[in-house]
Symmetry: C2
Subunit: 96 residues, 2 copies
């Protein structure tokens, strides 16, 4: 009846992060922060969780002299996102 929802994706902020990374090849930490409206602390924690799960990869580099954290979605993350969207449908289209 209802398919289980991946708890890692069933979170407002983590879902927003994944949503951004699904359509953009990559995104920098401050950009994600701005787009999601999250605090840096919260974002840092959730990025780490997605990274630990292998859903995204995080590259720490530099932009001039400033540190720059770049996030990209992984194939595993793409699959998880698609599976989550599919699972959600069982809740949203009860008749379908």
């Amino acid at each position: 009846m209802f398919q289980p929802l991946d708890p890692l994706l069933h979170s407002e902020l983590r879902l927003a992060i994944m949503s951004l990374l699904i359509s953009a090849d990559e995104a920098e930490f401050p950009y994600i922060k701005e787009q999601t409206g999250a605090t840096a602390g919260n974002l840092s924690v959730q990025v780490e969780k997605l990274s630990a799960a292998g859903y995204i990869e995080v590259e720490k580099t530099f932009k001039g002299k400033r540190p720059c954290t770049i996030c990209r979605i992984t194939p595993k993350g793409q699959e998880a996102f698609e599976a989550y969207v599919q699972a959600l449908r069982s809740y949203l289209q009860p008749k379908g």
Copy 2:
């Protein structure tokens, strides 16, 4: 960019309850329990939360000699569910 997700509905079990009640006029507690696979305790708590928010109404009646708890969605609950689905779209169709 991303619309906020009603925390009351962004919960696997509460969303499942609402999903059931959206398509069925009413449902009995044991039926919801069976369909969602939830424990009675968890279900009781979540039904109470939805009820307290005015998203569902709960009627305590009898079926023969046995107690029978019937749940129905309210207009407020319907609106909230539709708004939630709309908000979700901002996460699921980043290109749309």
